[in-house]
């Protein structure tokens, strides 16, 4: 047990280090800016006086490490500074939208994870059957579709006929049922795309597992198919399946950006796209940091969980 705790601690430390490095990369990227932030904001119209004033206002006269430290400590306390375009505190802009995006991602995950696992396991167990082939070709196609294609097909099919709204209007006061109904189409779009990925990976993981000699041994002991799956395959399948799920939930983070734009969903992704168009770098940095942290934390969770479920590591002397 002691050794496992040590391994988990190692993973956590590595995760913290990764987060730190990621924050440096995101902050450091602005240092690549031709000229500097002030000239980028003011553009052609800048006079030396306005530039100097802007630099002072942005604190650009301090050296980079000082500015980085101020930015990072602020971010850790929920203060991301002010938007360059609107002058509003970024934290205020983000707060509401972060909740909305999380809601959408969880909604999609709740639909996609069970669906993908069931389909993936069935396809693996009925390998080379008609079901397997159709599911595979379907999944391959779904992976190949751009998210907005899937989204518009659903709009054409389910929104045109009036079943579901194609624009999401939710506010903090909406009831849960209302929210679920309003966000059904974006959630379904994400589900379709993510399920395809997750199903294929689950299938591959199970097939790999079922080819192990110890599964053959169980068959030769006369174990029933159900027993083989539950007792012999499942305990060893947890680690790969956890990895598959984490990888795909992480994928939701990027998927959410396009889908939010299509459905005019008031989330972080849409805000990010708007800010990129306006070149509002402070907001983009803040959102990038949030998305990247979520991504790192997901992978870290998967790493720790699969360490904890690996029998070879868990069950030492």
């Amino acid at each position: 047990m002691h050794e496992v705790l040590k391994m988990v601690a190692q993973r956590l430390a590595l995760g913290a280090l990764t987060l730190f490095v990621v924050s440096i990369v995101i902050f450091g990227a602005t240092e690549l800016l031709p000229g500097d932030l002030a000239s980028a904001i003011l553009g052609q119209s800048a006079t030396p006086e306005t530039l100097a004033a802007m630099r002072a206002q942005l604190g650009l006269n301090d050296p980079a490490p000082v500015r980085y430290w101020a930015w990072l400590t602020g971010a850790l306390q929920g203060d991301f500074g002010v938007s360059l375009a609107t002058r509003r505190p970024i934290a205020d802009m983000i707060e509401q939208r972060l909740g909305n995006t999380l809601f959408l991602a969880l909604y999609a995950a709740a639909l996609a994870v069970p669906l993908a696992l069931v389909l993936g396991v069935l396809a693996a167990l009925w390998r080379n059957s008609i079901f397997d082939r159709v599911a595979n070709a379907g999944a391959l196609s779904a992976i190949s579709f751009p998210e907005f294609f899937v989204a518009y097909i659903l709009v054409l099919w389910l929104a045109q006929s009036g079943y579901f709204p194609s624009m999401v209007r939710i506010s903090p006061t909406s009831s849960l049922a209302d929210k679920l109904y309003m966000s059904f189409l974006p959630a379904l779009t994400l589900t379709l795309v993510v399920t395809a990925h997750m199903m294929r990976m689950t299938r591959a993981a199970i097939i790999n597992l079922m080819a192990s000699p110890y599964i053959e041994m169980a068959r030769l002991k006369g174990a029933s198919p159900l027993r083989i799956v539950l007792r012999h395959a499942l305990p060893n399948a947890l680690a790969p399946i956890i990895n598959v799920i984490a990888l795909n939930l992480a994928y939701l983070i990027t998927g959410v950006v396009v889908v939010e734009v299509v459905f005019v969903y008031p989330g972080l992704g849409q805000l990010m796209v708007d800010s990129v168009a306006k070149r509002d770098i402070a907001v983009v940095q803040a959102i990038a940091l949030i998305f990247a942290s979520a991504y790192v934390l997901l992978n870290l969770t998967a790493d720790v969980l699969s360490t904890l479920t690996n029998p070879r590591l868990m069950k030492r002397g």
């Binding site: 080819a211 192990s212 000699p213 110890y214 053959e216 041994m217 169980a218 068959r219 030769l220 002991k221 006369g222 174990a223 029933s224 027993r227 007792r231 012999h232 305990p235 060893n236 029998p311 070879r312 069950k315 030492r316 002397g317």
Partner: protein, 538 residues
């Protein structure tokens, strides 16, 4: 013995899928096994031994199918029986012991739970009964700490112990028949003895019938009452063990026996200074020291065999000589002058002198290069040959290794058999015009007849070019056949060294003694005699 056999297989055909087509693996084999009898199934790789063994359980692997014939086990027709009926037999009346116990135990469960599994779901015992029974059988299999070893997980137990635990597990329901599929192939010789002895005792004690699958004649001679020989899915010959050993009938069977007859002529004692001299070498991977103060010489025209079990440091010694692993202390001399420890610091002239031939010809030849380039490159690099001269050299080399130049020069390694690939490895080494060739287990991945051809070829080339060989092997039969000098290694140190005559005549160092006595011999009484001899002094 009753008249009806326990297992009777008639005219069996099994096919394996190759793309869209089905190719035959077993082509009309008959097999009869009586109660209490052990049948040895012998054949080279690809002969269909395992497939036939599994068919005795009515089982075909994924991608295989039983396409004809009948399998009757104790009056039950396994080809017509339902899956449910076959499941009732498997584990309870017919059990299986796999080649790799490490891979065949489920890593998620304790050994004793895996032992108890079959008795429980076949309703033969309660959990408590099964567990106490397991301890008894572990004891019979001479596992250390039988009361506790079952509560470990597979990765906490050594390979030889796992193999015995698996045999105990197969015995759990006291089956009528056990299929042993190469149970000792992955083990070292000294470990093999213990497993063989334990398996034989337990099979005799419970009067269990068994099919014992192996490619090793000497092993099967100890285990089986009767031997059946397979070749490419067809039966060659069958007889009881003593008859088979004394008087094999078929040409193929005789050729299997004949392998052991090759021995090269005695060489005169070394008079000149050695080509390569290893002096006081100590080497480590990171903090683990793997070689302790190794010293020996290699002379022109002579073969030094370096013998030891896995982990003894024999391959590491080769890595030090070639410069892949610079030693922590000591040095390697070439013609009396110290070689730079790292190969990257050696000159081309130095690199050329010492060439290497590998165990796995499959990974030793680049599969995407034609033989012309594989063999030609060293000649081009070291001897500066180009164009016509280079082509002639490659053709001459192919001639030397007894492959027809016109037919082979443009082929890829994938189009060759295992033995032919190994010959190309030899040609590549020769192309550099070296003085020392290091042969790392060059015959151990090959079937026995092919081994013999390779050994004869190496012998011929040595005579022609006065080559020095360093021959790394775990197989004492090979040592007997080709060595002039022998170095015995254990745990990274030299236990004993000398000429072959000295090594094979007593007195031996204790480890050499153990090693020598552990190599199975063709005599069916060898194992019994050995065990008796090892018991008596204590």
């Amino acid at each position: 013995m009753t008249d009806t056999p326990l297992l009777s297989i008639r005219d069996l055909y099994i096919e394996g899928r190759a793309g869209e087509a089905w190719l035959p693996i077993i082509k009309g084999v008959d097999l009869t096994l009586h109660r209490g009898e052990v049948l040895g199934l012998i054949g080279e790789s690809g002969a269909g031994k395992s497939t036939l063994g599994l068919a005795a359980m009515g089982y075909a692997r994924d991608g295989c199918r039983i396409s004809g014939g009948e399998i009757i086990f104790d009056g039950i027709d396994l080809r017509r029986a339902s899956e449910r009926a076959k499941r009732k037999l498997r584990g309870q009346r017919i059990a299986y012991v796999a080649q790799s116990a490490a891979a065949s135990f489920n890593p998620a469960h304790k050994l004793i739970d895996q032992y108890a599994e079959a008795p429980l779901f076949h309703d033969v015992m309660t959990r408590a009964q099964a567990q106490s029974d397991a301890v008894k059988l572990y004891d019979k299999m001479r596992l250390p700490n039988p009361a506790e070893i079952g509560f470990r997980y597979p990765h906490q137990v050594s390979g030889g112990q796992l193999q015995r635990a698996m045999t105990a597990m197969a015995m759990a329901c006291r089956p009528d028949l056990i299929i042993f599929d190469e149970p000792t192939t992955a083990l070292d010789v000294t470990t093999q003895i213990e497993v063989l002895a334990a398996i034989r005792d337990i099979v005799r004690q419970f009067d269990t019938s068994a099919i014992y699958i192996t490619h090793d004649l000497a092993v099967v001679a100890q285990m089986a009452d009767r031997i059946k020989i397979l070749l490419r899915g067809e039966q060659v010959e069958e007889a009881d063990t003593r008859t088979m050993l004394a008087a094999p009938r078929e040409a193929y069977t005789k050729s299997l026996w004949a392998v052991r007859s090759f021995a090269r002529a005695q060489q005169p004692a070394a008079t000149q200074a050695p080509i390569v001299s290893v002096q006081g070498v100590t080497a480590a991977y990171g903090k683990t020291t793997v070689l302790h103060d190794i010293s020996f010489d290699i002379h022109a025209g002579r073969t030094v065999a370096v013998v030891g079990e896995s982990g003894s440091g024999k391959s590491t010694t080769a890595r030090v000589i070639t410069g892949l692993l610079p030693p922590a202390a000591g040095e390697v001399l070439l013609d009396g002058k110290a070689l730079p420890p790292d190969y990257r610091a050696r000159s081309r002239a130095q690199l050329r002198q010492c060439q290497m031939i590998y165990q796995m010809a499959d990974t030793a030849l680049n599969p995407k290069l034609p033989l012309r380039e594989i063999i030609g490159r060293p000649a081009e690099m070291y001897l500066g040959l180009k164009g016509r001269a280079l082509r002639d050299r490659v053709r001459a080399l192919l001639d030397m290794i007894e492959l027809e130049p016109d037919a082979y020069i443009d082929r890829l390694p994938g189009e060759l058999s295992g033995g032919q690939k190994q010959r190309i490895g030899i040609a590549r080494a020769l192309a550099a015009d070296p003085r020392l060739i290091i042969c790392d287990e060059v015959t151990s991945a090959l079937d026995q007849i092919v081994q013999e051809g390779i050994l004869r070829l190496l012998d011929k080339l040595q005579g022609e070019f006065r080559l020095a060989y360093m021959f790394i092997t775990h197989d004492l039969a090979t040592v007997r056949a080709i060595a002039d000098d022998v170095v015995v290694m254990q745990h990274g140190a030299i236990v004993e060294q000398g000429t072959k005559a000295q090594m094979f005549a007593p007195p031996h160092a204790p480890y050499t003694e153990l090693l020598l006595s552990s190599v199975p011999e063709m005599d069916p009484d060898w194992l019994s005699n050995l065990l008796a001899a090892r018991q008596s002094p204590n």
